[in-house]
């Protein structure tokens, strides 16, 4: 894609400045995750009992927790966990959703059976499903990714299934078949490339909801181990001190809200970008 393409992609963001704010927040989160050791003013693990439960002030902008650890530093390091879980879940959803969705659409008989199985999974509320899977698998970061990912695999599969069904009926796919293209060729050259854009939008939403899911699991103590800083863990620990030290709740909570919200905004803007472009691309000039 050339520079024109990039400029074209920026239009929905320019149209809605709040989406630009969303991108900035996300950029901040990524930077925080990458440059955590340099950005964080203190070691997130270091315990200083003398300064425990201090409200936000000059030396500690987000205050300190019950062990005297700096909340700001912990919040910054938590960005890493957030990104890890988010990308892990998206990756899992795609890696399972794409094969199942495409396969089901191209081979209808087996596809119907598979999609009914997916329907069964979809019937579970995603948090309950995640909880159930974590109990079976045991709490750990990797299992948390699988447990949360299973829930979003279902929606991703459905979307890909519907899209592939539609793409399969496109005239250019027929044209390929008429020239002797086999299923492999159709999938690689025609179907997958056309799935990229809708999946990009879907990915941003999944990333957002993965944060919420991960935070919930961490809050219940079933996700990341409590030593590793994550916003959910911080929330869990802050429960006991909610009246004495509300800042312990406020800052991690806001981080979760901002991140998820920004992801939603970016996803919306991406989707707006896609629909008119699809219209232009498919229909030429009006």
């Amino acid at each position: 894609m050339n520079l024109d393409g990039i400029a074209l992609w920026m239009t929905p963001f320019k149209a809605r400045p709040i989406a630009l704010a969303g991108i900035c927040v996300l950029l901040a989160v990524v930077l925080a995750a990458v440059f955590a050791p340099w950005l964080a003013p203190y070691d997130p693990y270091a315990i200083h009992p003398a300064i425990r439960l201090l409200p936000p002030h000059a030396g500690h902008w987000f205050g300190t927790d019950q062990f005297g650890r700096d909340t700001l530093s912990r919040a910054i390091y938590s960005a890493r966990m957030a990104l890890l879980i988010g990308s892990g879940v998206v990756f899992f959803a795609l890696i399972t959703g794409i094969p199942i969705g495409v396969f089901s659409a191209l081979f209808p008989r087996l596809g119907h059976v598979l999609m009914r199985a997916v329907d069964v999974l979809m019937a579970f509320p995603s948090l309950l499903l995640a909880l159930g899977l974590i109990v079976i698998l045991g709490p750990s970061v990797a299992n948390a990714i699988i447990a949360i990912g299973a829930g979003y695999m279902t929606t991703t599969t459905r979307i890909i299934y519907g899209l592939t069904l539609r793409l399969r009926a496109e005239t250019y796919v027929e044209a390929s078949r008429s020239m002797g293209a086999g299923t492999n060729w159709l999938v690689i050259r025609h179907i997958l490339p056309n799935l990229v854009s809708p999946l990009l939008v879907q990915a941003s939403f999944v990333f957002a909801f993965a944060q919420l899911g991960a935070a919930s699991l961490d809050f219940l103590g079933l996700g990341a181990p409590p030593e590793i800083p994550s916003w959910g863990n911080m929330l869990a620990e802050s429960r006991t001190f909610i009246t004495r030290a509300p800042w312990l709740l406020f800052f991690p909570g806001s981080m979760i809200v901002f991140t998820a919200f920004s992801l939603n905004l970016v996803g919306d803007a991406l989707r707006d970008r896609l629909d008119p472009r699809l219209r232009d691309v498919f229909r030429g000039e009006a």
């Binding site: 250019y172 044209a175 002797g180 691309v281």
Partner: protein, 321 residues
């Protein structure tokens, strides 16, 4: 005609099932069609919507698997071919599609779309050969070779249709099935694309099955015409024979219904010629009998067979001829 027959279709039947209001119906889109295509000729397959002409085209190259019948291409059976043999056949019988906007993948460059048949069958030995083949083909259809790096949304309808034609001649086939190739184009662009097809036919020695609902276009480009109605061929003859002296009642109705660009020959007052019967509820006997002014009892009972008419080089399916 001493020219050899290159494509022979015998008693082709094709159907597909449709869901309407929750019930499943079987639509017999092609109900026993037989014809032959001679080397180097253009056969026009003409009819209105629902007559099965598009399904015939798709059944020949097995985009839709026919239920019964036979298709012979240069002596080899198409319907029973498998694997490599089928791929080879599909290289030799190519299709041009109607909608220039839908027949090209919007995410692939023009060059990639044009070379697709070659890529699928791994014809090109190296990128240089591929690039020069693409350039030569684009030039052959009247487009500048620089179009190879552009994308469909940058091209007009007429240009896209040229790309569709380019795609179908790389590598050069023996037969092209053109499914309404100019119906979606403006009149001035239609003329350009029709000229292109006629030029390519001469240059490459193509035989063409030209499917269309537009009698004027078919009359311009074809050597012979077969008229279809409700899944069957009702009349078949040389183009001038059919257009100047149509015999089958449907052919006559069709020709007289085409609005002629000549105000001195106007139809005054209304003509009611009825509607085609529902595809889900085919009548017994001749499908046209319900609208035919000459129909007699036999027409509603027995399906007329397509047979030669006297001494002329003409086939017609009507009890009264």
């Amino acid at each position: 005609m001493s020219t050899p027959t290159i494509l022979e279709i015998r008693d082709l039947k094709s159907s597909f099932s449709v869901r309407r209001s929750g019930r499943k119906y079987r639509v017999n889109a092609v109900d026993g069609v037989s014809f032959s295509l001679n080397q180097g000729e253009v056969l026009g397959l003409v009819g209105e919507s629902g007559c099965g002409k598009t399904t015939v085209g798709r059944s020949i190259i097995r985009l839709l698997e026919p239920d019964s019948g036979s298709v012979n291409f240069k002596g080899s059976a198409v319907l029973t071919a498998g694997g490599a043999a089928l791929r080879a056949l599909r290289m030799n019988i190519r299709m041009v599609f109607q909608d220039p906007y839908a027949s090209l993948n919007p995410r692939r460059s023009i060059g990639d779309s044009v070379a697709e048949a070659g890529d699928i069958n791994r014809l090109f030995r190296g990128r240089a050969e591929r690039a020069s083949s693409i350039a030569a083909t684009l030039t052959a259809v009247g487009l500048d070779p620089s179009f190879a790096t552009r994308y469909p949304h940058e091209l007009s309808g007429g240009q896209r249709q040229r790309v569709g034609i380019a795609r179908s001649i790389l590598p050069a086939p023996d037969v092209i099935i053109a499914d309404e190739p100019v119906s979606a184009l403006d009149v001035s662009v239609q003329a350009q694309v029709l000229n292109l097809l006629m030029d390519l036919r001469e240059q490459l020695g193509l035989s063409i099955i030209f499917i269309s609902h537009d009698l004027a276009v078919v009359g311009q480009i074809s050597d012979r015409i077969s008229v279809m109605y409700m899944g069957r061929i009702v009349e078949s003859a040389a183009v001038r024979t059919i257009l100047d002296d149509p015999r089958h009642p449907y052919t006559r109705a069709l020709i007289s219904a085409v609005p002629k660009p000549d105000p001195s020959r106007r139809i005054t007052g209304a003509i009611e010629t009825g509607e085609p019967p529902s595809q889900f509820n085919r009548p017994t006997g001749c499908a046209y009998a319900g609208r035919c002014s000459m129909a007699v009892g036999r027409c509603f009972v027995e399906v007329p067979r397509l047979r030669p008419l006297g001494q002329e080089d003409r086939l017609a399916a009507c009890h009264l001829l």
